[in-house]
Symmetry: C2
Subunit: 328 residues, 2 copies
């Protein structure tokens, strides 16, 4: 068992930018042990006043879109051209990767991983979406306290994790492939409308022309959709991780978004709303966990749910019945 | 106080297509009195085996799109050309309309309201979205049991009620205006992606050309979005309630959708999923209501929520704190 530090030791280490302590603190917030969680609460309490000073960018796209390669190229661009300190977190509850087996990603992000200005942390293995969301959100704050000023939160565009990521970042980037009739099918409905920017990847060689056509199409389509309260009009760009092109316009989009939304107050308001969202979300999760694990509910669930599904019982009457047995 | 009937009297009246009893039964499911609710459960239990045999169509669009006029024209078309029996329900929790003051709508739907094959029921006044959703859903079943074979559930495309309607209908129709730069802003993000069909209204006179251009644009845009599990590709049509044009192709879309999804099993599966959704949704609502009305939670909420919003306290730690005081 690794040595436990005091909350002060964790906090001071993180604030000093000590990567070992940062990793240990993230491991702490990922832990489900009650004693670790209590310690994690204390660490978070201490670092919170020092967090918040990054741009949080969510990045999603279906497998095959070249996400890791893109993040490596875009990350290195930010480090080299803008002197940024970048943390890359992953939120992927279905991931089979463990702390020791992220070789696949490490290989694809090897120059980024080797750069002292970058910090890459894979998704914790074997956790539910709720658990991953919680620890990823606290990891963002820890990385910010450790001095990282750009945070990427990556996710795979096929499940429910996109909505969770959308609720923890400032800017949501959707990676797409050109000519993606089939590839598109992998993207969940609604993701397109969450995007602040769409980047068509692999826009090089013979792919360049289809990519620019797709760009025009998507840009036209996105214009048909209403502006959100951010007043930001989503942009579509093309890029190539291989040729390292299109990265500057993309970063410009992020910066323009930040400028616009910091100016009109949306940026700060959104973060406040997100804080409240996670409070209510955690409460909901705990309430439901407690309810569905109640022995009397578990004993009746299959039978009653089946009656409801088959239309033999009203959902509202059934809910009341179950709630009464849980609270009786 | 109006006479109370027995559950059997309500059920038999509804099943016989007695409009007075149908209205009284709907009033019963709208009531928040515990004794009424118990009676309502018993009535629902009896009519459930006879419900389900309609096509449920959700209709939304921002104010000004001509929703009532459209429903009047489309409804009369279904009655006259297809011999349908149509019930029109409204879900609008912000509505100020009461049982006695639906004159605005009645006027716009006067020929429909006068037709014995149609039944129009406004949204119950002064209820929360949860309450409206619940009573609307049970009203759908009552109308089906009374022999209505097409149900329109209308909502205003500006709030959260669209998602609720989407979860209680088979087919979701979005009404839009041509050249709608500004009008579009009223539509909530995400609604477009719920639509099974988009109808551009007021496509007559000088509006016809802009409407057909908009049709092409939206059709192009919708094709960029992935197909859902229904395998249905949303259609965009133009129509004019004034000239009574474009109604046949729209109904054809509904019928094609029903044929496709009944063929591939999606139609039945979706209804089962919706039943389960409403079960879980009711449970969630009751759990949260109970939690947020707990005296110790209410006493601390403002202070703790404020700390979370301002980033002084972790949402997860705060949730735990509140849950502990509610369950202690």
């Amino acid at each position: 068992m690794p040595k436990r530090f005091t909350p002060e030791e964790y906090a001071q280490g993180v604030l000093a930018g000590n990567r070992v302590l940062l990793s240990r603190a993230i491991t702490l917030v990922e832990s489900t042990l009650p004693s670790d969680q209590m310690l994690a609460h204390q660490v978070m309490e201490q670092i919170l006043p020092h967090a918040g000073k990054s741009v949080r960018v969510g990045i999603t796209g279906v497998p095959g879109v070249g996400k890791s390669t893109f993040i490596e190229a875009f990350g290195n661009y930010l480090l080299e051209q803008h002197g940024k300190k970048l943390a890359v977190l992953a939120i992927d509850p279905t991931s089979q990767r463990t702390g020791g087996s992220i070789l696949g990603d490490k290989t694809r992000m090897e120059t980024l991983a080797a750069n002292p200005s970058a910090y890459i942390r894979p998704s914790p293995a074997g956790k539910t979406l709720g658990g991953v969301a919680r620890s990823t959100r606290e990891s963002i704050l820890l990385c910010e306290a450790a001095g990282f000023d750009v945070i990427f939160v990556e996710t795979v565009g096929v499940g429910q994790s996109e909505t969770a990521v959308h609720e923890m970042v400032d800017f949501f980037l959707l990676l797409m492939l050109a000519g993606a009739g089939d590839e598109l099918q992998g993207i969940k409905k609604g993701i397109m409308e969450m995007a602040d920017a769409v980047a068509i990847t692999k826009a090089d060689g013979a792919n360049l022309h289809p990519a620019t056509s797709a760009q025009a199409e998507y840009q036209g389509a996105l214009h048909l959709f209403p502006l959100g309260t951010s007043k930001w009009s989503p942009r579509v760009t093309v890029c190539s991780a291989y040729e390292k092109t299109g990265l500057a316009p993309l970063w410009e989009s992020v910066m323009d978004y930040v400028q616009l939304t910091q100016g009109n107050g949306y940026f700060a308001q959104r973060r406040k709303d997100q804080n409240l969202h996670w409070l209510k979300h955690s409460i909901r999760q705990s309430l439901e966990e407690r309810f569905y694990q109640h022995p009397l509910v578990m004993a009746q669930w299959d039978r009653i749910a089946q009656q409801v599904v088959e239309g033999q019982k009203s959902p509202f009457a059934a809910a009341e019945e179950l709630l009464n047995s849980a609270h009786a």
